[in-house]
């Protein structure tokens, strides 16, 4: 396709109705690799695409995205589409809130419908202790100007009647911390929307181009070695999610990251049942989060599989635990069949918070360590990382994500779990 990317609008839809199939063009075009760029972004996932988009839009730089496989092949298409900003620590909740505000307007900004659905996210509480924890987190959020609502059983019954909160059960639900602006975003649309908007700004997206090495000269990176040859770059950004450990190996610097699998599964579609996103930690079986997709399937996920893996094959015992917890919470879904189950590779840092910093060289940057929370931060991550790459200074809301925090003891340990990604 040649020429400018057509703008979507109501008028364009009417025109499309009369033009028929001829109206619909590919969302983005295949580009050829140029020998030299201002910035090379490695990885065409959510964070790589958003970073490239903001580098081109906000800073006017000439950018290429190099992708080993295909646009959106990794975690941006494998997550459970949840967006929220209900974090306890200020370094986290200001950043995640920035992301949530961007989600609210992203469809307009990209001129592409990403189907943001603020259906509410409810963290369910099973005991007075849970309620105290939830009120502490909710208060921290409200002090930062983020919406949070502590619901007791009456309010929860109105918010999520499908829970049948008053039914007799072994672990009764007593309340919830609800963020109403949280919800879901169609994840494939995010990848497509950013790819379309980035290429419209002149970003080259090169698929099936594997970065194999970093070329340096006198302590400065000069470009990357790829399967399509050398590409010169003034700056290099790695946004490679589950393969960030391999980046550490490539540049000869071990990172505070382990790669773990997180799985998700979806049932056959049914009529509308679940109106929000429900997060529930079963005392015996562990965490489950449940939502209903627009297609009607019940989407479920839980905790990490528990050990480093690149297989993208979830372990049976975790799937069983997730489903057991889900059916315990919503007995109505017990007879549904699981249609699909999948897993993604997660770059788990030692404190559960991300890394956005230069690494080893002043002109090499990491946008990594998003753990299992990467999807919801994509718009904020792209904007912040682009500022860091273009100016050398991270914006205030991303200052906490320095790589050096692990050595200086300024961990952002939201979970309070210590230096292990998977200690349960």
């Amino acid at each position: 396709m040649k020429g400018p990317t057509p703008r979507y609008s109501a008028l364009a839809l009417i025109r499309a109705r009369f033009q028929g199939a001829r109206y619909w063009k590919p969302l983005w075009t295949g580009r050829s690799l140029q020998p030299s760029y201002d910035v090379v972004v490695v990885g065409a996932g959510g964070h790589g695409l958003a970073t490239a988009y903001h580098l081109a839009r906000d800073h006017g730089l000439k950018v290429a995205i190099l992708e080993r496989q295909l646009v959106g092949y990794g975690n941006v298409g494998r997550n459970t589409t949840i967006v929220r900003s209900n974090y306890l620590l200020p370094e986290n909740h200001y950043f995640y809130e920035d992301a949530l505000r961007r989600w609210e307007t992203l469809s307009r900004d990209l001129n592409y419908n990403v189907m943001y659905s603020p259906r509410g996210v409810a963290d369910l509480c099973l005991s007075d202790g849970d309620m105290i924890d939830a009120s502490r987190r909710g208060n921290a959020m409200r002090l930062a100007g983020i919406d949070a609502e502590l619901m007791e059983i009456d309010a929860l019954e109105r918010f999520a009647p499908e829970l049948i909160p008053r039914q007799d059960r072994r672990f009764p639900v007593v309340g919830a911390l609800v963020q109403r602006r949280g919800g879901t975003v169609r994840h494939d649309a995010v990848a497509w929307g950013y790819a379309r908007a980035a290429t419209a700004l002149g970003v080259d997206i090169i698929e099936r181009c594997e970065v194999q090495g970093l070329r340096t000269e006198a302590g400065v990176a000069t470009g990357v070695e790829t399967s399509l040859g050398f590409v010169k770059a003034n700056r290099v950004v790695f946004a490679t999610a589950g393969h960030t450990g391999m980046v550490g190996k490539m540049i000869g610097m071990p990172l505070p990251i382990e790669t773990h699998l997180l799985q998700a599964m979806v049932t056959e579609p049914i009529k509308p049942l679940i109106g929000s996103v429900l997060i529930y930690v079963h005392p015996g079986h562990g965490e489950v989060y449940i939502l209903q997709s627009d297609r009607g399937g019940i989407v479920m996920g839980g905790f990490l599989d528990g050990f480093p893996s690149y297989t993208r094959e979830g372990q049976w015992h975790r799937l069983e635990e997730v489903v057991t917890s889900a059916v315990d919470l919503l007995p109505q879904i017990g007879s549904l069949r699981i249609l699909r189950q999948w897993a993604g590779t997660n770059d788990m840092t030692m404190d559960g918070s991300p890394i956005m910093d230069s690494v080893k060289y002043n002109n090499v940057f990491l946008n990594a360590g998003w753990c299992y929370g990467g999807f919801k931060t994509i718009p904020a991550s792209g904007a912040a990382c682009a500022t860091l790459v273009a100016t050398g200074q991270a914006p205030d809301i991303a200052r906490g994500f320095r790589l050096s925090r692990f050595a200086t003891g300024h961990m952002l340990d939201e979970r309070g779990g210590g230096p292990f990604p998977v200690r349960l």
Partner: protein, 81 residues
Amino acid sequence: MSRLICPFCGPRELREFDFHKTLPNAGETPFERVYLRVDSLTHSVEHWQHVRGCRAWLQVERNPSTGAVLAIRLAATGGAA
């Protein structure tokens, strides 16, 4: 990879075991030992514990890209049989 073979207990389901940390350490300082990881796509040496079984500490060699378990030994013997 749905089971590990414990040197004491024989083949047991994966849920009985907890993964602890990959080996070797990235360096000698406490920071390097605790926080940094040496990553490999194809060959990973790890400490596990049969925590819901005999509680033995194990040294497990795996291929994290295929899930194949290459060797399991007692950690106490420094990885020797």
